[in-house]
Amino acid sequence: MLLCLFLVFCWVPTEQNLGVSQRIFYVHVPMAWLGMISIVVVAISSAIHLITNKEKWDSFAYANAELGITFITLLLVTGIVWTKVTWGVWWTWDARLTTTAILWFIFVGYLMLRAYGPKGSQGARYGAIVALIGAIDTPIIYMATVWWRTVHPEMNVGPLSEEDSLDSRMLMTLMISTITFTFLYVWIMIERYSLRRSEIAVDELYQKIS
């Protein structure tokens, strides 16, 4: 993480048009990547739970959902600040921004359903349906700049980006930042998953006692 910060603040060149605010890119993109990954993981884990009926997959889905909403919230917040600086407005109903906001609401819906909805396998089933809708939203977010005329910048990395659209040092910094945040995601996810398993074990013990 320290290496990542060093690269972002001291090594990578300043972008010509956007200035230092462009360095938000190195946080914003990993957040987007991990937020989209997490809803797909939630959807897959929920589907496996429905098929196998094993509690651990539901716990895995729940842990990833909590992480996912954190990442998408940070994505939206960093995006909003960058939008204000670059375009002069806090928000615009651009295709990518709108679909990302929809994903945020899907995460909120999933967590509220799990918290206040039916408990046990029924709650997990309803949550799985919400997660699947979120997983459908993910490719729409990714392709939004290709399918629609948007003000959001086009892709700089990945199979659909133009060749040499990003300076090599910027690309390297972005890759290191993405890897760093991915490791952070995995670590927090493991901790949250084991915490969730403990919570379920405690609930079961309470039920036994009562």
Binding site: V20, S21, K84, V85, T86, V89, W90, E199, Y206
Partner: protein
Amino acid sequence: MQIVAIILLLAMPGGEALADSETDPLTIPSEQLSPQENSTTDPEANLPALFAVYTITWAGFFAFAFVMSRRQKELRREIDLLKTTLKERDQNTEKNE
């Protein structure tokens, strides 16, 4: 490290970063958007925004870690309570036998 880097960048002269929010509309159609002029004239004009973004990001992660740590403490307390309750119940069961 982040704070030192930001301080070094801030030490360089910079202009006002953010547009006046009272005169700017909250949202405008995306077709009417254009890059802000101040970012092209002064590349270090948006340092406060950069600082805010990184602070919010790290504060977010620390807050999440803090919440998890608090839940873990509560769980440990509940587990201890459950162990005590179960122990008492077992002792009562043995006495009755």
